[in-house]
Each structure stands twice: as C-alpha cells, then as structure tokens.
C-alpha cells in the first residue's frame, strides 16, 4: 500500500475512519450531549463527499479484488450526494427524544452499509462483491428495526434480514456454481470463459435473483413494501434510493462485463422481469394509502425502468441507467424528504392526511409535486430526461414494444402520483395539517433535492460526463 492506493480507496477509508471517529466520540460523550454528534458527523460526511470529487486515477488493487475507475468513482459520488441529503433530512428525526441515545449507531450503521456499497461497486471478484453486498444489507436490517418499540419497525427488520438471507443464499449458490464452472471468482477471468451452457445460465439466474431482490424486481420484491413501511422513514429513503442505486450500478457493470457472453439470454429475462416489475409495481402502487408504502411500490416500478437501460446494452444504456439513478435519487429523496418532514413533525403518513396541504404548507407541496412529476417523467423536471434516455436506449436495441409498455406504465404511474398531487392541491379538508417549519438541515436537504430535480435535466453536461465514462456490453 502506498499513498496513491490510499487515495484510490479514499471513499472506503475515509468513511471507515469517519465511522470510527463517530464511534469514539460517542463513547466519550455524556448521554445529554449526544446530539452534538449530528453536526460533527454531518460536517465530516460533507467533507467526505467533497473529497470524493477529487480527481483520481483508475487502478486495481489487491490483485484485482478492488478496482476503481472514473466511472466507479462517479457512482460512489452519486451515492454520497444521496446519502448527504438523507443525513440532512434525518436530523430532525434523530433529535427526537426516543432516538437520542442511538444517534451514533444510526450513523455508523448507515456508513457501514455505504462502505459495503462502495466495495460492492468497486469489487473485482465475487468474494468482495458478496461481502460488500452483505455489508450493505445486514446493518440496514438493524436500521430497519431501529425504532424497536414499534412493532412495525421490528417486523420490517425481520422481514428484511430473513428474506435477504434467503436471497443471498440463493445468490451464493449461483456464485458457487459460477465458480465451479469457471474456476475463478475474479470477474476478469470469468468474463473470458463464461459460456452459454444450461448450468451457467442456471447459475446466472440464481445470481440474478439475488440482485433482483436488492433492486426489488418482481417477483423478488415482496419484502420491499413491508420493509419500507415499517422502517424509519429515513432508512426507507436510504433503502429506496441508495441501496437500490448501488445495486443497479453493480448489476449493470456485471451484466456488461462478467455476463456479457450470455447477453442474448439475460436480455430475455430482463425483458420479462422488466414488464412484470413495471406493471405489478404500478398496480400495487395504485391502491396504497400509506405514503411510505406508496413510494415503495413506486420505487419498485421505477426499478423496472432501470432494466430498460440494461437491455439497451450499449453506452447509451449505461449512461441512461446511471443518469436515471442520479435523477431518481434526487426525485425520490425530494418526495421522501417531504414525507419524512411531515411524518417527523406530525406523525402522519397517510395520503388522506395530505388533503388540502397546499393551503397550509405550499412550499412543501410544490416540492412534492415537482418530485412526483420527476418520478413520473414529466418535463421540464429531470425525471423526464432520465426516463427518455432509458427509453431511448431500449429503443436503440429495437425493443419498441417494451418501450411502449414502459411508457404506458409511466402513464399508470402518473395516475397515482397525481393522486398525491390531487390530495395536496385539490381535495378539500376541514382541518389540513397545520403549518410547520422544518429545521435548517431538513430544508437544506429539500432544497438540494429541488435543485437537483430542476437542474439535472437541463444541465446536459452531467449526462455528457456520464456518457464519456460509460461503456456498453463488452464483446
């Protein structure tokens, strides 16, 4: 290890250090003063985020177990920005009386999952990949059960940990077969010898279902809604954007590099799963009244769209996926931020509680509307661009009917997003939720989301950067 290696691994190292620093400070603080951790951690993480943007060289470490490229750094940075927003949005919630003793744990668990995601994205072999995956999952289960006086939270925790264990078991079985067939766990070796034989397809399917679980693709999504609903709202937003985004990143990388040889097979699988995911996700979302659950199903449907980019199989596809995830992070965090702010202040999470909200809290409603429009893919907000590029990439591979189904699904999704808009703007309510003012951090978080939602689409530079780093299925 030399200095440049440290620089290469700066995301992981810095975050580990931050986590440890938080732990140490926490141990030395009196119970009364625990809330000081919040500003400290926030500033540390902010620095971490900024440092992440420093230029870095692509390199490979640990004999290929860890590798990083500009693209991977970009992915990590995208995740960082998302996490930063989430942290900002969780401040109010953390300051609550019942959470006071667990503040540092929240941060440490969150950071360790983020570290897991870093390693997962950077992994050069299945071992690190698996480790990263687990590191990114297990602490979240603990976070989901964070509110342990709430039955729902506990239920979310157990549902998450057990189903993720099952899925990672199946995924591992797949990996073991891949190992058996190719004799290696290193991606670079595997991609050269992976062949389209029944067993390798089977192994791929096992592996893929595990990933599908993470991204919550139908029919491997069933945990999602329950966990999202039960988990503390900020954990939910973390799960829905960061966790899912990271999984999408690594999935597309693996699809394009390791499993490139069986692209004809997995394209069929993806096609099927994409249709199922978009449709079922939307159908479930239609009926939801609980905002978290609602956003859960909406995020399932959104995951289906991501597959369109993978199906594209070219540079455009990867760009579209990454860009979409970026946009999706901002949009979803905008929506979650509002839900979180309302839920934290008033404890209300049902859509009915949003009736007539505009009359009391117009700004929040506007942001929510923008975020939902972005999720639905309505111009001029960023979601439109994200979706358009995804569709374009699928169309570039000739999947016109899939695009059609996808856009129809986007229309259905517009329906339920509009239901929320309707609740806020149109429905009459004798007693709408009273006016509330969130604290500075939450507002900052919301403003950043709003900015992202607005700017990302028009600012084509971002798309171009991603595009310059992306690659297609390697032949």
């Amino acid at each position: 290890m030399n200095f440049s290696d440290i620089l290469t691994m700066r995301h992981e190292l810095m975050l580990t250090i931050i986590a440890l620093v938080v732990l140490i400070i926490d141990l030395n603080l009196h119970n009364r003063d625990k809330h000081f951790i919040i500003p400290i951690t926030l500033s540390l993480f902010f620095i971490h985020t900024v440092v992440g943007f420093l230029p870095s060289q692509p390199s490979t470490l640990f004999g290929g177990m860890y590798h990083t490229t500009a693209l991977i750094v970009l992915m990590k940075n995208i995740l960082n920005v998302g996490v930063l927003i989430i942290l900002l949005q969780s401040v109010t919630w953390l300051k609550k009386e019942e959470n006071r003793e667990k503040i540092s744990e929240y941060f440490i668990l969150l950071f360790s999952t983020l570290i897991g995601m870093y390693f997962m994205i950077s992994s050069g072999d299945f071992l690190m990949f698996y480790l990263g995956l687990e590191l990114a999952t297990i602490p979240i289960a603990a976070l989901a059960a964070y509110n342990h006086h709430q039955t729902k939270s506990a239920e979310a925790g157990i549902k998450l940990i057990l189903s993720s264990a099952l899925s990672s078991g199946i995924l591992l079985f797949g990996i073991s077969l891949i190992y058996g067939a190719t004799g290696s766990i290193y991606f670079d070796s595997i991609s050269q010898v992976y062949a389209n034989t029944p067993m390798q397809v089977l192994a791929f399917i096992f592996f893929f279902t595990g990933m599908a679980f993470k991204i919550s693709l139908v029919p491997f999504h069933l945990w999602t809604a329950d966990v999202y609903e039960g988990a503390p709202i900020n954990v939910t937003s973390y799960l829905s954007v960061i966790s899912k985004g990271a999984a999408a990143f690594i999935l597309i990388i693996l699809m394009f590099t390791v499993f490139n040889t069986i692209a004809p097979v997995y394209n069929h699988i993806l096609y099927m799963i994409a249709v199922l995911t978009m449709t079922i996700g939307n159908l479930f979302a239609l009926r939801q009244k609980n905002m978290k659950r609602f956003l859960a199903f909406s995020s399932i449907a959104q995951a289906g769209f991501i597959l369109l980019g993978i199906l594209g199989g070219n540079i455009m596809g990867m760009t579209a996926v990454i860009y979409f995830v970026l946009v999706y992070i901002f949009s979803n965090l905008g929506a979650f931020g509002v839900v979180s702010a309302i839920s934290t202040v008033t404890g209300k999470e049902s859509m009915d509680d949003y009736d007539g909200l505009y009359s009391t809290n117009p700004k929040v409603c506007l942001l929510m509307m923008l975020a939902l429009f972005s999720l639905a893919g309505i111009p001029p907000v960023a979601g439109f661009f994200g979706k358009f590029f995804l569709f374009a990439s699928a169309a570039s591979a000739g999947y016109y009917w899939l695009v059609f189904i996808a856009v129809l699904n986007a229309t259905i999704s517009l329906y339920y997003y509009l239901l929320v808009v309707k609740a806020m703007f149109i429905n009459k309510n004798e007693k709408p939720l009273a006016y509330f003012k969130s604290d500075l951090a939450t507002r900052t978080g919301l403003v950043i989301s709003a900015l992202g939602i607005f700017v990302l689409g028009f600012w084509s530079q971002i798309y171009e950067i991603i595009n310059s780093l992306s690659f297609g299925v390697i032949h």
């Binding site: 506990a154 239920e155 099952l166 199946i170 073991s176 329950d226």
Partner: protein
C-alpha cells in the same frame, strides 16, 4: 484418495441440502428455525465451494476462502437476525412468523 467419490455426489448432497433449507424456510413457523434453515442453505453453498475447490481447482484456494468468509457473514447475519428476533419477541410476545404480518397489501 478422493477419486473414488465423484464430485457430483457432493453436489447432490449440497443441492439437496440447499433445497431442504429452502423448504425449511418456507414451512417453519418459528423465526429461529427459519434462521436455522438459512444456515442450512449457507452450509450447502459452502460444501459447493469446498468441493469445487478441492476437485476442480485445488491450485488456488478461492473456494476455500470464500467458504471462510461465508461463515463469518453467516455469523454476522445470525447475530443481527437473532437480535431482531428477540426484539420481535418483545413486541409480539411470539416468534411465530405467521404473527408477523402487521403490514400487508
């Protein structure tokens, strides 16, 4: 000395064990037994890794170490799972999975 027993035997064992684990996961009502089924699944995967390593690629120890890591991960997973189960027990006064369905539809 291992040539007498073909690799496939190990694979048969591991596959059955894997699916027995899954069966357990799908049918055991007790959360802890479900966790135990998970352990069965992981164990079957380990057998796979080890057998592949031993039979096919003994030069490197990739499967070997993979198995080690899986064990460690299994331990971590079990720890968190058991903590949550205990929490469930406190909240629900039961660890029957059927009762843990407050959130649905």
């Amino acid at each position: 000395m291992i040539q007498n027993i073909p690799l496939s035997y190990y694979l048969v064992i591991s596959t059955f064990m894997f699916f027995i684990g899954i069966y357990g996961f799908l049918t055991r009502r007790n959360l802890i037994t479900m966790l135990m089924s998970i352990e069965l699944i992981l164990n079957s995967v380990n057998i796979n890794f080890v057998a592949f390593n031993r039979y096919l690629y003994p030069q490197q120890l990739q499967g070997h170490f993979f198995m080690l890591i899986v064990i460690a991960v299994a331990a971590a997973e079990a720890a968190v799972a058991i903590a949550i189960i205990i929490n469930i027990y406190r909240n629900f006064k039961s660890i029957d999975v059927e009762n843990v369905d407050e959130m649905k539809y």
